[in-house]
C-alpha cells in the first residue's frame, strides 16, 4: 500500500514544522532511539505512543506510556487504543503532531505582499521618494512661513535637510524588522509608511491648533487630541503590522486596536490619576491664531464682564462644594 499518512510535527518553540511520511505499521513514537519517530522533547516518554493498522485497514492510536499522557484532539487518550481518522491532532508533552493524508487540501498560496493591487503603488520606491520630497517641501514651507530672521532659501534648505533623516532612519529600522520576519526589506513600503506618518503628524498638529483656538477650550482640544492620536496611531500601526505579516486588513486593524487602545487607555487613566488636586497656576487658554475663526462671539464689554463674573462665581462655588464634600 502506498504511503497513507503524513505527520506534521511541531515542537513548542521550534518555529517551522517538520514532516514525516509513515510507510509501515505499527509506527512507534517516543524519545527512545529504537522508535520509528524519535522526538527530542524531554516531556515525551521513551516509548510514548504507537500508530497501528487493523487487519480491516482502520487506523488506531495506542498509548504506550502514561507519564505525561497523550491527547487526541481535545480528549485524553486512555488505555484502550482509539480510532484515528485523518486529519487528527495528537499532543505528546510539548510536541504537537497533526496526522494528515496526502490528499488533504492546502490553502491557496498567499501573495507575499498584503496590499490590494490598486495600492501596489505604495510599495514602489519612486512613490516613497516622492512622498519624502513632499514631506521635505512641507517642512521647508513651514520654515519659510515661520521664519523671524529672513534667511536665503539655500540656508533654509540646508537647515531642513537633516530632517529627511528621520523618515529614512525609521524606514531602515522597520525594514530591518521586516527582513527578520518576512526575509524581505521592502524598503519602498516602509519608507511610504514612515513618510505618511510624518506628514499626517504635521497635519494633525496644525489641525489641533486650529480646533483648540476655535473652541477656546483646553478640554475639547485634549479630547480631540486623544481621539485623533488614537485613530492615526491605530491606522498606521495596523498598516505597519500588515506590512510585517500576511494578516488580512481586518485582522491587522483588530490586532492594532487590541495592542494600541489598552495602552492609550492606560495613559488616559494615568493622566487622571496623576492629575494634581491643586495647581498653583491658572488653566489659561493660550492658543492664538492669525485666522480668527472661532465658535465664541465677540461680546460687548458689559456682557463680557457679566458672563465672566457669573462663570467665575459659579466655578468657584462648585469647587468649594466639591472640596467640602471630600
Amino acid at each position: 500500500m502506498a504511503a497513507a499518512l503524513i505527520l506534521e510535527i511541531m515542537t513548542r518553540g521550534r518555529g517551522q514544522p517538520q514532516y514525516r511520511r509513515v510507510r509501515q505499521f505499527p509506527y512507534r513514537i517516543g524519545r527512545g532511539y529504537d522508535n520509528d519517530l524519535i522526538l527530542p522533547d524531554d516531556t515525551v516518554s521513551a516509548h510514548h505512543v504507537q500508530l497501528e493498522r487493523d487487519v480491516d485497514g482502520a487506523l488506531r492510536v495506542r498509548n504506550l506510556s502514561h507519564e505525561n499522557g497523550t491527547r487526541l484532539g481535545h480528549r485524553k487518550l486512555g488505555y484502550v487504543p482509539e480510532l484515528l481518522a485523518a486529519p487528527a491532532s495528537l499532543q505528546l508533552g510539548h510536541t504537537q503532531i497533526r496526522v494528515l493524508t496526502p490528499d488533504v487540501a492546502v490553502a491557496p498560496a498567499r501573495r507575499p505582499q498584503a496590499v490590494p493591487g490598486s495600492l501596489a503603488l505604495v510599495e514602489r520606491l519612486p512613490f516613497a521618494l516622492a512622498l519624502l520630497t513632499l514631506l521635505f517641501i512641507m517642512e521647508v514651507m513651514f520654515a519659510l512661513l515661520h521664519q523671524v530672521e529672513p534667511q536665503p532659501l539655500k540656508t533654509v534648505l540646508l537647515n531642513k535637510a537633516p530632517e529627511l533623516l528621520a523618515p529614512l532612519f525609521t524606514a531602515v529600522v522597520t525594514g530591518f524588522i521586516s527582513r527578520l520576519l518576512l526575509h524581505r526589506w521592502r524598503f519602498g513600503l516602509q519608507l511610504t509608511i514612515a513618510c505618511v506618518s510624518f506628514i499626517f503628524g504635521q497635519l494633525t498638529i496644525e489641525l489641533l491648533q486650529r480646533v483648540s483656538y476655535y473652541y477656546s477650550s483646553n478640554e475639547i482640544a485634549s479630547v480631540l487630541n486623544v481621539v485623533l492620536a488614537a485613530t492615526l496611531f491605530t491606522g498606521l500601526f495596523a498598516w505597519q503590522l500588515r506590512a510585517f505579516s500576511t494578516l488580512t486588513r481586518k485582522r491587522s486593524v483588530i490586532t492594532a486596536i487590541a495592542i494600541a487602545w489598552p495602552l492609550l487607555a492606560l495613559f488616559g487613566v494615568q493622566s487622571i490619576v496623576r492629575e494634581p488636586d491643586f495647581r498653583s497656576q491658572p488653566p489659561l487658554h493660550l492658543q492664538l491664531h492669525v485666522q480668527d475663526v472661532r465658535q465664541q462671539p465677540t461680546l460687548t464689554l458689559d456682557a463680557f464682564l457679566a458672563t465672566s463674573r457669573s462663570e467665575l462665581t459659579e466655578q468657584m462655588a462648585a469647587e468649594q462644594a466639591e472640596s467640602s464634600t471630600n
Partner: protein, 428 residues
C-alpha cells in the same frame, strides 16, 4: 531666624552728606547710643516661636514693651506661624539676662505688619511713641540681628516711602533679619517706628509708630484681652484694605499712556511704580516690542507662602511690518502667558477658576482669560488675574495683564472694567 526681605527694588541713591554729618558728631552719637542701650535694654526682648515637637525655636524676632508693662509690640510676620497654627506653635520671650516666659497674641494689624503680645508678668517700662521726624534725624534701631545678642544700630530717618502701597519709613541703617519687631528710637528714646524689612545694604524700612498707637487703642477697648478670633479680624482688615486701595485708585481720573496704537491707563496711583522699555525692530529681530508695567512695590505678609494686597498690571505691544502673519502670531503666542506670583498652597487657596471670552474693546476684539481663586482662611477674598490678547490683526498685537491678590471678585471686576473702559484705539 527670619524677617522679611522686602521685594522693594534696591534704591541706589546713597547720600554721602549723611555719612559726613555722622563723622562730625561721632563722639556725641557714640555716647547717645550707649545711653539709649542702657536705658532700653531691659524693655526690649527676643521673641521666639517655639515648635513643641522639638521644643526649639523655629523662628525669632524682637519685641518691646509698649502701653502696659506686660505688653510687647512686634511684627505680625514674626508671630505669623503662632497666629495661623496656634496648636503647632507657641510664643516665648527671652530677656537680655536669659529669663524666659510665655506670650499670647492680643491683637494684630496684618496690613502694617504689627502684633501686640501679652506676657504673664511685667517686663519693664513701656516705651512712648512719637511722630516721624525730619529727614536726616538720627535714629537708633534695636533688635537681635540674625538672632545674635541685643544690638543697637545707628541710622537716620529719611521720610516716608513715596512708592509704597502701605506707609513705611525709609531708614538708612542696617536692619537685619531677627531685628524685625524691634523699636527704632530717636535721641530722646521715643519710638519712631518698628523695624520691619530691609532692601539690601543700609536700606531699611520701619512701620510708622502711629499705626502701633492705633492698634494699642483698639486693643485697649477690649482691655487687652487675648484674642481668639484673629483669623476673623485678619479677614476684616484685608477686606477693608482692598476696599481702601480701590477707593484710592478710583479717587482721581487716571493718566493715560500710549502703548503702540492704544491709549491705555498709566500710573493709576502715585503709590505704584511704573517701568517701561522699548526695543525697536532690527535686522535680526524684525519686530518692535514695547513693554510697560506698573506694580505696587510692597505687599502684605500673611505667611511664609502667601502675600496679600499686591497690585500689578502690564502692557505689551508687538508690531512688525516684515514678518509673515504666521510667524508674527508664533512670536505673539509665545508671549501670551502669565504667571501668578505666589507660593500659596492648597491649605491657603483653592484652584483657579478661569473664564475664556472674546470681548470688543474700543473696536478691537480681545481674547480674555479672567481667573480667580478663593482664599480658604479669608472668606470673600480671591487672587484675581487677567490675561488679554488683541486678535484680528496680522502684524500688531497688544497683551494686557492684571494681577491682584486678596481682592473681592467684585472689586477685581470693577477695576478690570475701569481699565478696559479707558482703552482707546488710535487709528493711523
Amino acid at each position: 531666624m527670619r524677617g522679611i526681605t522686602s521685594r522693594l527694588l534696591p534704591l541706589a541713591v546713597r547720600s554721602l552728606i549723611v555719612c559726613c554729618a555722622f563723622l562730625a558728631t561721632v563722639g556725641n552719637a557714640d555716647e547717645l547710643a550707649q545711653q539709649l542701650y542702657a536705658a532700653h535694654k531691659d524693655a526690649v526682648y527676643r521673641i521666639e516661636v517655639i515648635s513643641p515637637g522639638t521644643d526649639k525655636k523655629s523662628s525669632l524676632g524682637t519685641g518691646f514693651v509698649i502701653a502696659r508693662e506686660d505688653l510687647l509690640a512686634s511684627n505680625f510676620h514674626v508671630v505669623a506661624n503662632a497666629v495661623h497654627e496656634p496648636e503647632r506653635y507657641r510664643l516665648e520671650w527671652e530677656s537680655v539676662s536669659g529669663e524666659r516666659g510665655p506670650l499670647s497674641v492680643v491683637a494684630v494689624d496684618v496690613i502694617h505688619d504689627l502684633a501686640l503680645l501679652k506676657a504673664d508678668k511685667p517686663l519693664g517700662r513701656p516705651h512712648v511713641s512719637t511722630t516721624l521726624p525730619q529727614k536726616g534725624t538720627a535714629l537708633y534701631a534695636m533688635g537681635h540681628p540674625l538672632g545674635l545678642d541685643l544690638a543697637i544700630v545707628p541710622g537716620s530717618a529719611n521720610g516716608l516711602l513715596e512708592k509704597a502701597l502701605y506707609d513705611k519709613i525709609h531708614f538708612s541703617g542696617n536692619i537685619n533679619p531677627g531685628m524685625s519687631g524691634g523699636p527704632a528710637l530717636d535721641a530722646q528714646g521715643r519710638v519712631v517706628g518698628i523695624n520691619v524689612a530691609t532692601a539690601g545694604e543700609a536700606v531699611g524700612f520701619l512701620v510708622p509708630a502711629h499705626f502701633l498707637d492705633a492698634l494699642v487703642q483698639r486693643a485697649s477697648e477690649r482691655e487687652f484681652a487675648v484674642a481668639d478670633d484673629l483669623q476673623k479680624r485678619i479677614t476684616e482688615q484685608l477686606t477693608a484694605n482692598q476696599d481702601q486701595l480701590m477707593a484710592d485708585f478710583f479717587a482721581k481720573p487716571w493718566p493715560t499712556q500710549q502703548v503702540g496704537q492704544f491709549t491705555v491707563p498709566g500710573e493709576i496711583s502715585h503709590r505704584l511704580d511704573c517701568w517701561g522699555e522699548t526695543e525697536p525692530a532690527t535686522e535680526k529681530k524684525p519686530y518692535l516690542e514695547i513693554a510697560t508695567n506698573c506694580s505696587g512695590q510692597d505687599d502684605v505678609y500673611l505667611s511664609e507662602r502667601q502675600r496679600a494686597g499686591s497690585v500689578a498690571y502690564q502692557y505689551f505691544w508687538l508690531e512688525s511690518d516684515r514678518l509673515s502673519p504666521r510667524a508674527f502670531y508664533r512670536e505673539f503666542q509665545q508671549r501670551h502667558n502669565s504667571f501668578f506670583q505666589s507660593d500659596a498652597d492648597e491649605t491657603d487657596v483653592g484652584n483657579f477658576a478661569c473664564s475664556v471670552k472674546f470681548v470688543e474693546v474700543s473696536g478691537q476684539s480681545f481674547k480674555a482669560n479672567v481667573c480667580a481663586r478663593p482664599y480658604k482662611r479669608y472668606a470673600g477674598l480671591t487672587d484675581f488675574m487677567v490675561l488679554m490678547a488683541m486678535t484680528g490683526h496680522d502684524r500688531q498685537a497688544l497683551l494686557f495683564t492684571l494681577d491682584l491678590s486678596s481682592v473681592t471678585l467684585d472689586n477685581g471686576m470693577k477695576l478690570l472694567q475701569q481699565f478696559l473702559e479707558n482703552f482707546q484705539w488710535q487709528p493711523r
